[in-house]
């Protein structure tokens, strides 16, 4: 599954601990420095695809103040995907820094 930025952020939000839907939205905002604000429809579309692909799973269900909260966590497969994508991004960032460090010679 090709990873969009939103999907990557959701995977990342689930990497350290299981989170419920609202928790994922908040963590994505923090991770993206308040830039990505996931709507509930978008979030559950991503969660559905991740669960179907075996990259995330339901870990627990609790009822808080009469509301059902379902917690999601990464599967080992999901963790491998997020680690591989993070490594790709890190490698890209290293290459980008090298390119930007070169002196710029004039224009065309």
């Amino acid at each position: 599954m090709a990873l969009s930025e939103q999907t990557y952020l959701v995977l990342l939000a689930l990497a350290d601990e299981p989170r419920h839907g609202y928790g994922v939205v908040q963590e994505v905002r923090t991770l993206s420095d308040d830039r990505v604000k996931l709507g509930a429809g978008t979030l559950y579309g991503i969660l559905d695809r991740l669960v179907a692909a075996g990259q995330a799973e339901v870990s627990n269900e609790v009822v808080v103040e009469g509301r059902l909260r379902r917690y999601y966590r990464l599967t080992p497969g999901g963790r491998a995907v997020v680690e591989a994508h993070t490594a790709e991004l890190a490698a890209l960032a290293r290459r980008a820094r090298r390119v930007l460090a070169r002196p710029a010679f004039g224009g065309v």
Partner: protein
């Protein structure tokens, strides 16, 4: 109603974009997240969230269902759905608008061809086909709404698409059948909308009937030497006096029928039996949508006739039919308003038209999910059967 209830109601409305089975499993969870995101003061979903739910819901419907080829084979050729898509087919067969979905595609295609072929060949489409084509959706909606359960088709679809087939592994998704309540439209809502529709039709078509310039007619032509009779279809002037005679007859007959229906209602409504297999339903949003779709179409047809662009004389006859039925509808609406609140539209129909006490409703087939059986242990592997329809 509290703010939380209002918010939940708004959220549930937009959540209808998702498949039924998805809502059953994840609906409450998603509403909880929506509430958290909106904050405690919110009384309704924001436009951004609503559109997001609409988009994601339809995407989920598409993702959950079979591929296009399988869908078309199921819908148009009635090919049995593969077992892995039975949940999707169960939602389709048990869902609202099943008849509309089932019946709509073929006529749209047929009439669309009649409409498009002349246009592609550089000629103007026949207005009659354009009108028929445009009428398909609202008429089918009405058809679907007024008879919420069409047993023969539905039972056949359940047997063909949802029941296990010979030789199928017992671990496959299985459904069974049980008895359930038959949905019936509430009399108060149904009669009120009928009065509104007939009243609107009477005013519109009576006005047009008075100004229609010409009507279709069989016109004679000079006989050829070898034929005795010669005629052709053409048009002739239309005289409003003809409509006046027609309307007078319709009004008199309508009043007499309404009087008889009123007497029957007073006598028979109290004899209605207890209905253990009935569920009164309020289909207000769908009925009003269908009504709103019909209004511009009726206006268009009336304009075509009034300006002489379409020589069909539909308006005088439609006007007479509305005038004939309106008194009866008013009597039924009065009976529904002052009568017992558990009266269904079909009760008043049976009393008013057939003069017999309301019949006992029979049960309808309800589809239930059966537990999948493990071949190794011979034990159910699911949580057990659950009524899902």
């Amino acid at each position: 109603m509290s703010d939380t209830d209002r918010f939940d109601r708004s959220a549930r409305f937009w959540l209808r974009a998702y498949p039924v089975r998805w809502r059953a499993v994840r609906g409450d969870e998603l509403i909880g997240v929506l509430r958290d995101l909106a904050g405690p003061e919110a009384t309704r979903l924001s436009l951004r969230e609503s559109l997001g739910l609409l988009r994601s819901g339809w995407a989920t419907r598409w993702r959950d269902g079979p591929p296009l080829r399988t869908r078309l084979a199921y819908r148009w050729l009635d090919r049995p759905i593969p077992p892995r898509y039975r949940e999707w087919a169960r939602d389709d067969i048990d869902g609202r608008w099943y008849d509309t979905r089932r019946m709509l595609l073929a006529p749209i295609a047929v009439y669309g061809i009649f409409w498009l072929v002349p246009v592609l060949r550089g000629r103007q489409s026949d207005l009659f086909f354009v009108f028929l084509w445009a009428m398909i959706l609202p008429v089918t909606l009405w058809f679907d709404l007024l008879r919420p359960v069409r047993d023969p088709y539905r039972t056949r679809a359940v047997n063909r698409h949802l029941m296990p087939r010979l030789g199928e592994p017992t671990t496959a998704m299985r459904f069974g059948q049980t008895r359930g309540a038959r949905p019936r439209i509430e009399a108060r809502l149904g009669t009120t909308l009928a009065c509104l529709a007939l009243g609107f039709g009477a005013v519109l078509w009576t006005t047009v009937a008075l100004v229609v310039p010409r009507g279709p007619a069989i016109v004679g032509c000079p006989p050829e030497p070898e034929s005795l009779v010669c005629f052709t279809f053409g048009s002739a002037s239309w005289h409003p006096q003809r409509w006046a005679a027609l309307a007078a007859v319709a009004i008199i007959v309508g009043l007499l029928l309404a009087r008889r229906a009123g007497r029957r209602t007073a006598r028979l409504l109290s004899e209605r039996p207890a209905q253990p297999y009935r569920a009164l339903v309020n289909r207000a949003p769908g009925l009003i949508t269908a009504l709103v779709l019909l209004v511009p179409l009726a206006g268009w047809q009336a304009w075509l006739e009034a300006t002489g662009r379409w020589v069909a004389l539909i308006s005088p006859w439609a006007s007479a039919i509305c005038l004939l039925m309106l008194p009866g509808a008013l009597v039924a609406a009065r009976a529904a308003r002052h009568g017992p609140s558990d009266t269904a539209l079909v009760d008043l129909w049976q009393i008013g038209l057939h003069g017999r006490a309301p019949q006992l409703d029979t049960w309808v087939v309800v589809v239930v999910r059966m537990p999948a059986v493990s071949l190794d242990a011979g034990e159910p592997t699911d949580d057990g059967p659950g009524v899902t329809a």
